[in-house]
Symmetry: D2
Amino acid sequence: MIGVGLIGTGFMGKCHALAWTSVRTVFGDVPPIRMVHLGEASDELARKRAAEFGFDKASADWRGVVEDPEVDVVSVTTPNQCHPEMAIAVLQAGKHVWCEKPMAPAFAEAEAMLAAARASGKVAALGYNYIQSPAIRHIRTLLGEKAIGEVNHLRVEMDEDFMADPDAPFFWKHEAASGYGALDDFAVHPLSLIQTLFGRVASVMCDMARPYADRAVPGGGRRAVETYDIASSLIRLENGVSGTLLVNRSAWGRKGRIQIQIFGSRGSIVFDQERFNELQLYVTWDRPTEQGYRTILAAPHHQPYDRFIPAPGHGLGFNDLKTIECRELIRRIEGAPATLIEFDEGLEIERTVHAMARSFAEQRWVAVR
Amino acid sequence: MIGVGLIGTGFMGKCHALAWTSVRTVFGDVPPIRMVHLGEASDELARKRAAEFGFDKASADWRGVVEDPEVDVVSVTTPNQCHPEMAIAVLQAGKHVWCEKPMAPAFAEAEAMLAAARASGKVAALGYNYIQSPAIRHIRTLLGEKAIGEVNHLRVEMDEDFMADPDAPFFWKHEAASGYGALDDFAVHPLSLIQTLFGRVASVMCDMARPYADRAVPGGGRRAVETYDIASSLIRLENGVSGTLLVNRSAWGRKGRIQIQIFGSRGSIVFDQERFNELQLYVTWDRPTEQGYRTILAAPHHQPYDRFIPAPGHGLGFNDLKTIECRELIRRIEGAPATLIEFDEGLEIERTVHAMARSFAEQRWVAVR
Amino acid sequence: MIGVGLIGTGFMGKCHALAWTSVRTVFGDVPPIRMVHLGEASDELARKRAAEFGFDKASADWRGVVEDPEVDVVSVTTPNQCHPEMAIAVLQAGKHVWCEKPMAPAFAEAEAMLAAARASGKVAALGYNYIQSPAIRHIRTLLGEKAIGEVNHLRVEMDEDFMADPDAPFFWKHEAASGYGALDDFAVHPLSLIQTLFGRVASVMCDMARPYADRAVPGGGRRAVETYDIASSLIRLENGVSGTLLVNRSAWGRKGRIQIQIFGSRGSIVFDQERFNELQLYVTWDRPTEQGYRTILAAPHHQPYDRFIPAPGHGLGFNDLKTIECRELIRRIEGAPATLIEFDEGLEIERTVHAMARSFAEQRWVAVR
Amino acid sequence: MIGVGLIGTGFMGKCHALAWTSVRTVFGDVPPIRMVHLGEASDELARKRAAEFGFDKASADWRGVVEDPEVDVVSVTTPNQCHPEMAIAVLQAGKHVWCEKPMAPAFAEAEAMLAAARASGKVAALGYNYIQSPAIRHIRTLLGEKAIGEVNHLRVEMDEDFMADPDAPFFWKHEAASGYGALDDFAVHPLSLIQTLFGRVASVMCDMARPYADRAVPGGGRRAVETYDIASSLIRLENGVSGTLLVNRSAWGRKGRIQIQIFGSRGSIVFDQERFNELQLYVTWDRPTEQGYRTILAAPHHQPYDRFIPAPGHGLGFNDLKTIECRELIRRIEGAPATLIEFDEGLEIERTVHAMARSFAEQRWVAVR
């Protein structure tokens, strides 16, 4: 029996709640899950969400969740600046933590989180769920089998359009205090994929741009935008592969795009998160007249798709990725091998993001470590 | 509080369990759900699944589920030939029933099911979940708004390849006793979409085909295939629109395809279930030089996508459709309007399928009613 | 040296002129082509077009072209109703004829054309250029190699939207005198592909529909539309394969679509003329986890693409198909084997179209011959 | 009457021959074209090609073509290193020159070519045909109309796989003497599009990579590869827009890809040369629930498509782009405005390529001029 605590019930909070709720029904092979304690900003909201999400207890003080003796693991899904204090408290209370990404706005805070994880001996996992899709896992298998030979180049893009409207007013994400911009918001996701599939980034050369110099301030006037919606980086991996990592949160028309192009000596792979139940594979196994990108639909033989649906081509959803991540977390808690970004690899992602920002500031190539 | 019973835990049984488990977390506006009683073929399996799916009680006799006084609604997800007896028993026990499609192999049995539903006054719903996707619902909205003008033609295809391998051995789906073949397996799905979007089918002209005349019998020898993997129908709807309905369960490469092409006087719509988070729309609103099919990604403004994910383009999964259906069922139980195929409309679907089979047998156009 | 005559300079006339002009540059292996004599409706237009297209002589009387002793072969690209008289005259003058499709509005006239061809001993070819694309030729090769096993089912659609606007006025294509409608305009094209790839159609069951009952008459009032923009047919081929042939010339959004789906015992093929430099192939050669439709781009190894462009994926154009057809015609004139629809196979196409119309009139299956 | 000379009859030579042959038939509004004089490396080949391509005279000495008094304009389609001497000779002979791209391996030679062009007063055009497609021209129109608002970001990729096979032997393109690698081969093409649509590049930051360190030498042994198949650049345009330009000639699966992503304040545009008869447009004109990338098929209203085909969606071919370029050249010769990359803009393309190479060598941002 696993006792679950949840802090925060926004986009990711609900996503965690659904994952905890359905993980045993989907996988069968995990212990019973008990939804113990939910924390939110007010008593009223905490009680309302606890009722909806099926938690037994509700607190307006998140420390109540952390300290609840029936809680074994805590999902931390609050805004990024809250992660360090909460995650460290969870670990210091001797519990496992499942914290949403990124770790923290400041690198030193992320380092402190990793130190707390190491000191605790507990599992400290991050919510990088895109690495969990059956297609990405199958890509990993294909790369391991050298299905496309030796990888020699990589292009990754991540784009959405939630900041694309120039008429939308200035808000906190336009302030420098919120971070660099698209680097914090987006780049961490493709970096989780890059690290999972290929290993760490060695050096970066980054350019950033602001599509809109200023924005209307509610109440009148305009204010200069301080963050960068666009970041484009040349990258070189530790394994010698070169590539590019391009992100844009003002990209009209893109809704959840993470496109990956992987070029190898015997073929190539293309993946796009907007169609994450598909995978494009080009191989040179058979005769040239029939070579072409094949669109492979996710199917039961691409595990763990089979645990959700026994028929091919029916499609997983975004929330299902979090359920897979939840099961990996449980496996990790149980001491089994798991596919998961923990605080140590998470810190490397953040290190790379900060290196990119420094590269832009100094207009030169920067070694990540 | 709704007490849930579940009979059967295969593909659809697990899907129902997940829907019941997550519907309150997703929608918030439904009563608490209690997983009361699960029925399976043996004590051992029933207990195992009850533990996995979170049910309190388990029975090897499905009547135990039906008669449990704590059960308010029963999900029937057993093989088709079991539906009539079980669904009628549920209704006669004064409970709501949520029965997987199709209703029954024989039309008379389906009629008896509808009679039982009417006599009971309870909700009797069928598991036609494809009508629940945000894209299909948005198509319905667009048609209602005459976004593509007056619809004048329709083409629907449903294809999978699970029967495509000629080396697979003879099994019960190849026996005439199992039904007509693709008509039973597949045609009911597109018919649920056609009825939901356009109303009933008036007349049909159907051809059927067997890709493989015989198949190997386990143990040696070959046996003639008695069912038809392919059925192609010309159709005319009651509203005057003509079209085609083509199904094939031996279509190599197709995994969960349900393609719909809708032609109107001002535009057209194309949808494919294999990419059910997308919708193709061609309209003649603006100037000709920019007209083209637009690929619309499902987003929070296509309800109820927003209840699952607050960000566009992230994608629902197949299982989420059943969760939406579950919520519609609950709304219907509560007396609110709902998007749902109940036994009355379900019977019309089956009537159409039997008319198609008769049309093929008699090689002529057949009026559905 | 081949002396060319051309009658008609509309869409297809210009297309023939371009084919004759470039065929030797493209293929190298054909004799020199001399553009001898062009016929048009007036002296002025004939002279203007002759100058543009590079013809030595121009006539307002098409018989001048036919009788010109320097002319060896005549392209007939006038409206359909002119084909019989002109094509027969060309053949009777002892010359080869390259006549645009379809042969003639009335079947008896088409029969007379075939009789004239047989009597003359000259080559009598029809302008069914869609069979000439490298992708279609490669499909033919793949079928011959049994790359997708034994073909068991077929679906073909042809759609455009040039008649889709309900506000467009009544014109001659809406009169019964012009023919049946989409059957004449469109069905002949997919039939040319079906016959080339699979052989003849044995029986048909056709439905037709009018999207718009009447149309505005220039000058005021409305007039009932007499032709059918939509025709949908169940078909059975002589080789036992069943399928469907669906055409619609009021299909908003479709511009030049001819989609072919071919299902076999070991795979399937999908082709769409709107992207005719591509081909979708699904095969079951390799392991299931990597099976998917592969998008094969036309390339030099798909002959005769190589005669136009030595690099893959650069793309042929619609007019290039006529150039390939022209070379096949020349090969046929020279006595070599050629891929070409001649009057004998063309007559079978028309026989099938008339059978479809009869099937609709009589609401029953009709044997083509 | 325009007298044409042609030097070289490889890929581009044949393409020029086809363009000259068909330009008057296609466009009607250009003077008669006379194929006067063809130059090739040997008498035999020159005579053979002259016969095939319809030229009156043939020479093994290219100077014969240049000096022929009947020649008004010379197509130079020989290897890049021959361009300077030949193009300058043509211009000094007082003739117009149509030279394939790029101008020359060395920047100083390209400068000399521009100087010769200026001194001659003749038209000196380059074969950047990708700017001629109806889709690219329509993109230019849309940008001019601010259909996607103010452009703020740009991503361009060009990929093919003709160098992707690691087992292919060392040849001259792997020697440093041939140039930088993909920069020379590919980058000039996307730069022609960038300059045409957006203006000049101001500064660049480039990385390059070799997928294969060495290759087999015919006869035995291996030799180090000296050129770079991959080049990735961050770019900033003179108009303030930032972006990326990524090229790879070892990209398995890509055959003729040039993908352009243009992001603006009101929408975005995506184009891929592998499907150059299509254009993806996302606009925010209408209500959000129907926004999506629309696939616009090239059609007669996207000029000059109409001069080739009067029906939409039928598709131009790669060779047709050269025919459009030929007509633009003729218009330019006649003194009319034309869409054409002449030596002045061509030199800017080369200047940018050399700046990229310098940026890589010095590992820093470089100003193009």
